[in-house]
């Protein structure tokens, strides 16, 4: 009986909703780099998902088009601002990021492996945590707000120079307990609506929830420029919004819970191209 209504529903919806499934489209950046927006799911997802897909495939034609050309991608304005701070000397040590790291393009390959374990500190670090550690320890500068504009500009710059490289975070060794914690959070049904990330992004991607077309909730495209709020949105801000929408008490951006969740969600996208800054609605 439930299957019957399901089949009936599918039949009716295919006429009502044109955009129910992810589109069959290729993301070619600036007419030269083809990004991987769909690929075989990493081994740890076997039995759960066959294929992982970028959120880009779930967006409308115009939104997708904006991301194919750097001149049309509003997120690139923030990359330029990130580049300015990359070269700006700040703090008591008289240094800029460039003083230690060279050109921002030399950071290609960094974004795809974060969050990652920092041996010296003995902790799993997100890119934001690493940036703030550089600012405090190396530059003698103040930390940036975790989800603030300066931080988002910098993560956009760091993502942009890795675009096209496959997300490749480690899930074992010293990060394994964090990864396990993140996985538990991903499947926890929170709030008064008792919905988990998996309920929406694993069991229902491709389906509409009211006016929203559910994607797999991947983070390979972060930070995302959202047409809705016309700014860059960081991973933890997005997580916070999704948890809030379950009528739950959220975790804080930068909290150990969200760091763990980020590692786990990133690992679900291992193999997808880094896309940030992406464009979303």
């Amino acid at each position: 009986m439930r299957n019957l209504t399901g089949a009936l529903l599918a039949g009716l919806l295919s006429t009502t909703f044109v955009s129910a499934d992810p589109v069959d489209d290729k993301l070619v950046l600036n007419e030269e780099t083809t990004l991987v927006t769909r690929t075989a799911a990493p081994a740890h997802l076997s039995g759960v998902l066959d294929e992982v897909m970028s959120g880009w495939l779930f967006r409308g034609t115009e939104t997708r088009a904006m991301q194919t050309d750097d001149f049309d991608n509003p997120g690139m304005i923030f990359v330029d601002k990130g580049e300015d701070s990359w070269n700006a000397v700040e703090g008591t040590e008289g240094k800029s990021c460039a003083s230690c790291h060279g050109g921002s393009e030399d950071m290609a390959g960094v974004r795809p492996v974060y969050p990652k374990f920092n041996e010296a500190a003995g902790e799993v670090r997100t890119l934001e945590m690493q940036v703030n550690d550089c600012r405090e320890t190396q530059m003698g500068a103040d930390k940036w707000k975790y989800t603030g504009g300066s931080m988002a500009n910098m993560t956009a710059l760091l993502a942009s120079v890795s675009r096209g490289m496959p997300v490749n975070v480690a899930i074992d060794g010293p990060v394994q307990s964090t990864w396990d914690e993140g996985k538990e959070l991903y499947y926890a049904r929170t709030g008064q609506l008792e919905l988990s990330c998996a309920n929406c992004h694993e069991e229902n991607f491709g389906n509409m929830i009211r006016a929203d077309h559910l994607s797999q909730g991947q983070i390979n495209g972060f930070p995302t420029y959202r047409l809705k709020n016309t700014k860059l949105n960081s991973v933890h801000a997005r997580f916070k919004g999704c948890v809030r929408d379950t009528r739950a008490e959220t975790y804080k951006p930068g909290s150990s819970e969200f760091v763990a969740l980020e590692l786990y969600v990133a690992s679900r996208g291992n193999g997808l191209s880094v896309e940030g800054p992406s464009v979303r609605n």
């Binding site: 009502t16 709030g191 008064q192 919905l195 389906n207 509409m208 929830i209 379950t246 009528r247 008490e249």
Partner: protein, 157 residues
């Protein structure tokens, strides 16, 4: 892991302030997922029920379900089955059970429990992202549940 405390207190309050005969969320009696007794003793109003089902601020049922009768309200979701004909498929008692707490009818259902106040993980204060406080109550009131049930009963093929 699950948090019980706050919810129970609030239930007490709702029961006191609203209706003497109203069944509190914690006192609803389920038989095979159905609730035979009206939660209020006052019959539901299908017109109000229709509004609750379509309104984002109230039931927001169409976030997940499509209903042809509500075609005038834009954007119906595809998470749950279409509700056309629900009044033929289910008795009034079954509908009351499903809307009050769908998890009693469908194990581990994705459908939220609309008349339940305990057993949540990190319950929040509506959509603020903050922790629930002493205003925490069920998603819909007892009479609203009755109104929704009355509306669903009109959905016949």
């Amino acid at each position: 892991m699950r948090i019980l405390g706050i919810a129970v207190v609030v239930t007490g309050l709702t029961a006191l302030t609203v209706y003497a005969e109203e069944t509190a969320p914690t006192a609803v009696s389920f038989t095979d997922g159905a609730v035979v007794q009206s939660l209020t003793g006052v019959s539901g109003d299908p017109v109000k029920g229709r509004e609750i089902v379509g309104s984002k601020k109230m039931g927001n049922c169409i976030a997940c379900h499509e209903i042809t009768d509500l075609a005038d309200v834009p954007f119906h979701g595809e998470i749950g089955p279409m509700l056309d004909g629900a009044g033929d498929r289910w008795t009034e008692a079954e509908l009351r059970g499903i809307v009050s707490n769908a998890k009693m009818m469908f194990e581990d259902s994705l459908m939220p429990s609309f008349y339940r106040t305990d057993g949540f993980l990190r319950p929040g204060n509506a959509y603020t992202g903050k922790a629930a406080d002493d205003t925490f109550g069920p998603l819909l009131g007892a009479q609203q549940i009755e109104d929704v049930v009355a509306y669903l009963s009109t959905l016949k093929d």
